[in-house]
């Protein structure tokens, strides 16, 4: 039983990180969103696995919530938003794809080094994997910085959020419910805000992509 739990946990957590790296690798917006969906599902798997292992009903609910929000709602909304954008590919990232992947590898190593320092406090099966979450955060952030398209940026932001959620699950087996609720709620609200923004900009129809906006400057 334990070994299944550990194997599932490792697989799911690895999937979260892998899908984060995949978002860096792929260019077409639709496949990036698909990766995001995969990541949501993997995250849900982590939560459910932990919940079953610890008999934590609240965490089970959280897992369900994650599946709904991150596996279904967010990618769907994003797909809709992406339709507004005529150029569906991330054509000119600030750092090109191969370099990004090399950089991501470096970030993963860094998070491993840093992560072990943190997890050494209580090195159990779940906590051990926390560096994977940290790496997801860094990779997501890297995407946020280097990808120009609005949708890519939102994806990066959500990857960061997912990474944090992964760290949260692994380190604490879920913080008190209200926080988790808040966090999921928040991601959803962020998406709503973003959709609103995109729509508004479309409405004004003068600027193609939000990220091209550089009117406000010193």
């Amino acid at each position: 039983m334990t070994s299944t739990y550990v194997a599932t946990l490792e697989l799911a957590a690895g999937a979260v990180l892998l899908s984060a790296v995949m978002t860096l690798w792929r260019r077409s917006v639709s496949s990036i969103v698909a990766m995001l969906r995969l990541q949501g599902v993997a995250l849900c798997a982590v939560a459910v696995d932990l919940a079953l292992h610890e008999n934590d009903r609240a965490l089970l609910v959280t897992g369900a919530l994650v599946l709904v929000v991150k596996g279904v709602v967010v990618p769907t909304v994003l797909r809709r938003v992406a339709k507004w954008d005529p150029r569906s590919r991330e054509s000119r990232p600030l750092v090109n794809v191969p370099a990004s992947l090399v950089f991501a590898a470096g970030l993963i190593v860094l998070s491993y080094v840093v992560g072990t320092r943190i997890t050494s406090l209580s090195p159990d099966d779940a906590t051990r994997l926390a560096p994977l979450g940290l790496a997801t955060v860094l990779v997501g952030y890297f995407m946020l910085v280097t990808r120009r398209r609005a949708v890519s940026k939102i994806v990066g932001l959500i990857v960061v959020d997912n990474g944090i959620a992964l760290v949260t699950f692994l380190l604490t087996s879920g913080v008190p419910l209200i926080v988790e609720l808040g966090s999921s709620l928040d991601v959803m609200l962020v998406v709503v805000v973003l959709q609103f923004l995109m729509a508004s900009v479309r409405h004004h129809s003068r600027i193609d992509a939000l990220t091209e906006l550089r009117e406000l400057r010193d």
Binding site: L110, V114, L138, Y141, T146, T211, L213, R214, R217, D218
Partner: protein
């Protein structure tokens, strides 16, 4: 202390009256209350100077997180005396002078605030109270400079220069004081004084240099003076008078209070630096005063000159105390204090008179004035007395203080330490070099501005100032003359102030109306000299009234036989100072443009010729402008940090995150 608190309270009332009352009553009521408060402050100061006890006041209910703390001791009282005398005169002057923007609510209220912050600053005895008063003084004067911004465009940039310099100065002072304060909670001057002895010499020296920078800038010492010749002329004259006579004195007060009172004198190098500042200021100020043509600018430069001499005295006192000659040190500091008071009186009167001229002739450019003695006889008399005092005409106040200064230098030469002797030598040289230049400057003021014939419509149609203005100027002339004729009568007062700063010592003075230094072998009896002068003058006058013509016959001016002299043929202020300007061209670096327009028909005939000459402040052009340029360029370059790119903004955070993970 009660009296001082009442005075400050009356001052607050005056400020309120200025802010609240309708135009009809505002100026009169505010000025009356202001003058009343100043007179009360004079009494408070005199009570302490006459041997009254040192009193303190503390309240935690005022000034959050620190509490207000006031101490009235003889040193503070001396400077309160300085500012309240000028303050009273300025308030009286205000009645007739305030017009237009200056009579508005904000201006009147701020004016009162300024007057009383000058009285509050010397009495402050903890860091917060001191800085509060100091900054309030700076702020209110800054606002007052701007009152006539609509009429004088240059006031805007003058205010900015002033504001920035005073802000830097205040920052420097604050840092210096904090460095020597024992604890944030124990920030009273008494605690600092007790604590300072245990500090390392390096800390104390650093603190003193910082504080010196701030105070010297306020006092207008070269090279920190650049704001002064801009700001003092730009302010309304009642304010210029206060700034130039009382506010610069606060810089001197600060140096004495911190250097001697809180830090106990330090080393000879501190005072060497002070002297050097003083010598450079005195010479530079005197030189620029001779070549300035704007009356108020000339007065401002002359302030730099006199304050330079004061600083020389302060520096000499510090150096002498350090070399173990306390009695001579007392003499030097006493001379400095006396000069501060004398300067306040005569410079105050001069600025007020300059305001009267500006108001009635519509210009302060000496090149456009002339002949004012015929239309403004009282103002002219005030100017003559003021100029006489500043030129150190014997029996006027400038003379007695400069004599004391010279005595201290002379006796200071007996010191065995070389730096001290060099200090004395520098002081002597400064005194010697400035005397003649000051005479040129003020002969120019009187001779070009008041004598001769009017050079412009404004000057020709000028009229005497209003009564309250004349009363104020006249009132300030009285202490100026009194301190010259009978300085000995207040000798005990300044000696008390000096003792507080330098510690008790054998008193060098012997009671007299003049100043008698029995133990050092020197004396002046200005009163007797005055009697002799008046006697001889009357005698000569009587003898020269010969039988043939009691009244002189009026004829055309001879002018070497040139018929039809016009006012344009007179020497102007520029031409008067031209020889000196040429002599000191290396320092002044005058720039001149000559533009010749030829007649169309022939190049041998000139249609018109224009000549323009100006003197820019070397320190401003070579020292300050480049720094300002660097700062502006840095600001321009920094704009690239915020270039509008979200990617860049996010990258800042990403870098921070990586750094945290690596370091943490």
């Amino acid at each position: 202390m009660t009296l001082l608190l009442v005075a400050l309270g009356v001052g607050a009332l005056a400020a309120l009256a200025g802010a609240a009352l309708a135009r009809r009553w505002r100026v009169a009521v505010a000025s009356t209350l202001g003058a009343l408060g100043c007179v009360l402050a004079v009494f408070a100061a005199v009570t302490t100077l006459r041997g009254g006890a040192t009193t303190t006041f503390h309240s935690a209910q005022v000034l959050p997180l620190s509490g207000v703390s006031l101490t009235l001791d003889p040193l503070a009282a001396w400077f309160i005396l300085v500012s309240s005398i000028v303050g009273a005169a300025a308030c009286v002057y205000n009645v007739g002078y305030a017009h237009g923007a200056l009579a508005s609510r904000p201006a009147q209220s701020t004016f009162m605030l300024f007057t009383f912050s000058l009285i509050a600053v010397p009495s402050a005895s903890n860091i917060t109270t001191f800085m509060f008063g100091w900054e309030l003084m700076a702020l209110s004067s800054l606002l007052l400079i701007l009152t006539e911004h609509a009429r004088h465009v240059e006031a805007r940039s003058a205010a900015l220069w002033y504001g920035v310099m005073t802000q830097l100065g205040a920052a420097s002072i604050l840092l210096g004081l904090l460095l020597v304060s024992s604890h944030g909670s124990a920030q009273s001057f008494a605690a600092i004084s007790a604590h300072a002895a245990g500090l390392s010499p390096a800390t104390r020296s650093l603190a003193f240099l910082l504080v010196l920078g701030g105070f010297a800038s306020k006092a207008g010492a070269v090279p920190l003076h650049v704001w002064l010749p801009k700001a003092h002329p730009a302010a309304p004259s009642s304010v210029s008078a206060l700034m130039s006579s009382a506010m610069v004195a606060m810089g001197v007060y600060g140096i004495i209070r911190v250097g001697q009172g809180l830090l106990h004198g330090g080393t000879v190098w501190w005072w060497f630096a002070v002297t050097l500042l003083g010598v450079v200021s005195a010479m530079y100020g005197a030189l620029h005063a001779t070549t300035s043509n704007d009356l108020k600018r000339l007065l401002a430069y002359s302030t730099i000159d006199i304050i330079g001499l004061v600083l020389t005295g302060v520096g000499a006192a510090g150096a002498l105390k350090d070399s173990g000659q306390p009695m001579v040190a007392h003499l030097a500091l006493g001379a400095a204090l006396l000069l501060v008071l004398a300067h306040a009186a005569f410079k105050g009167a001069l600025f007020l008179a300059a305001g009267a001229i500006d108001r009635s002739a519509g210009t302060r450019d000496l090149d456009l004035l002339g002949g004012l003695i015929h239309v403004m006889p009282v103002t002219a008399t005030v100017i003559v007395f003021g100029a006489g005092a500043i030129m150190a005409v014997p029996t006027l106040s400038g003379f007695s203080s400069e004599w004391l200064l010279l005595q201290s230098f002379l006796h200071g030469f007996t010191a065995l330490s070389t730096p001290v002797v060099i200090v004395m030598l520098l002081g002597t040289v400064a005194l010697a070099l400035t005397g003649g230049l000051t005479a040129v400057a003020f002969v120019k003021v009187i001779g070009i501005g008041f004598l001769g014939r009017a050079r412009s419509e404004g000057a020709a149609n000028a009229h005497e100032a209003s009564r309250s203005m004349l009363v104020a100027m006249g009132a300030l002339t009285i202490p100026s003359v009194f301190l010259g004729v009978a300085p000995g009568l207040v000798g005990a007062w300044w000696e008390r102030a000096v003792s507080l700063a330098l510690g008790r010592s054998s008193d060098p003075y012997t009671p007299s109306t003049g100043v008698v230094l029995a133990r050092l072998g020197g004396a002046i009896a200005p009163a007797a000299v005055l009697v002799a002068l008046i006697g001889v003058m009357s005698l000569v006058w009587l003898l020269s009234q010969n039988r043939t013509a009691r009244h002189a016959r009026r004829v055309d001016a001879w002018g070497c036989g040139r018929d039809g002299q016009t006012s344009r043929m007179q020497y102007t202020a520029t031409s008067f100072a031209e020889p000196l300007q040429r002599v000191f061209a290396d320092v002044l670096r005058p720039q001149s443009d000559v533009e010749v327009t030829h007649v169309v028909e022939s190049r041998y005939y000139e249609q018109s010729l224009s000549y323009e000459s100006r003197i820019v402040d070397v320190f401003e052009a070579r020292g300050y402008r480049p720094i300002i340029g660097w700062v502006l360029r840095a600001g321009g370059a920094a704009r690239r940090l915020q270039n509008g790119s979200l990617d860049r903004y996010l990258a800042f955070g990403f870098g921070a995150l990586i750094a945290i993970l690596v370091v943490g």
